[in-house]
Subunit: 126 residues, 2 copies
DNA sequence: CGGTATCCTTCTCGATACTG
DNA sequence: CAGTATCGAGAAGGATACCG
């Protein structure tokens, strides 16, 4: 079989659609929302209270985006007044595994990163 | 052995410093720069040419940020005119493994995501 | 070659007010 | 309860010009 001579063969390529998807599911509030929904399904205002200082607007936008991308499911219970429950989808669960890996990486390497920052900052002063 | 009653036990927590680090190393241009430097050390203008439509300003900012966080190393060769080489650090290599995992995830799940998007968008029209 | 500095536009995001 | 609508401040990011 014919291998390309490209040194990056086997490495996933960064394309605009992939980059866009990562932007939509790895943004600031999405991580908090997914973490929360991973523990238990929640109502809109439950999420608001659970997540520090998120505004209604941002939370709504985040939930819509995650729902559109298939990461969370929105269930409307037609009672009075209406109740809306958000829950994580199977797809969202696979994403959460990845986010956990990201957070483990930051935990493991934060000391090295902080050393690098200190070194960089002091070198600039001189 | 004593398990805590907390459902999320063992899950890494999202804190501001961790969130900030991810923002600084997973942004749009960083992924391209790391991918490029993972294949070979490169000069500034080499990177500019290799990465589609990045401006000088954005590339400089990205490289400085990655350098400050210890992901890339900047080597100045004092010739005339000056030559500057950027290369990935060991820490940057561990990050690249994670980015590869992210890109594999998007590759695997993109079909599901697009189905979810289509369903969401058509439901909104009705 | 490898950057800075400046201007200017765009876009995000919070604050606030209102609704079914 | 679960949103939508509107406004404005601030930050991100491109275009351009200049520098050692």
């Amino acid at each position: 079989m014919q291998e390309t001579a490209h040194p990056a063969a086997g490495r996933p390529q960064i394309t605009a659609p992939h980059r866009e998807l990562l932007d939509q599911v790895l943004d600031k509030w999405s991580l908090h929302v997914l973490e929360e929904l991973c523990e238990r399904p929640s109502r809109f205002n439950e999420l608001r209270r659970a997540i520090p200082v998120v505004t209604q607007k941002s939370l709504t936008a985040t939930l819509r985006r995650l729902e559109r991308n298939g990461m969370v499911e929105r269930v409307v219970v037609s009672s009075r007044p209406v109740a809306v429950e958000y829950r994580i989808s199977p797809l969202g669960t696979t994403l959460q595994d990845l986010i956990d890996a990201l957070l483990r990486w930051t935990s493991v390497n934060m000391p090295d990163v902080e050393r690098a920052r200190t070194r960089f900052d002091t070198e600039q002063d001189s």
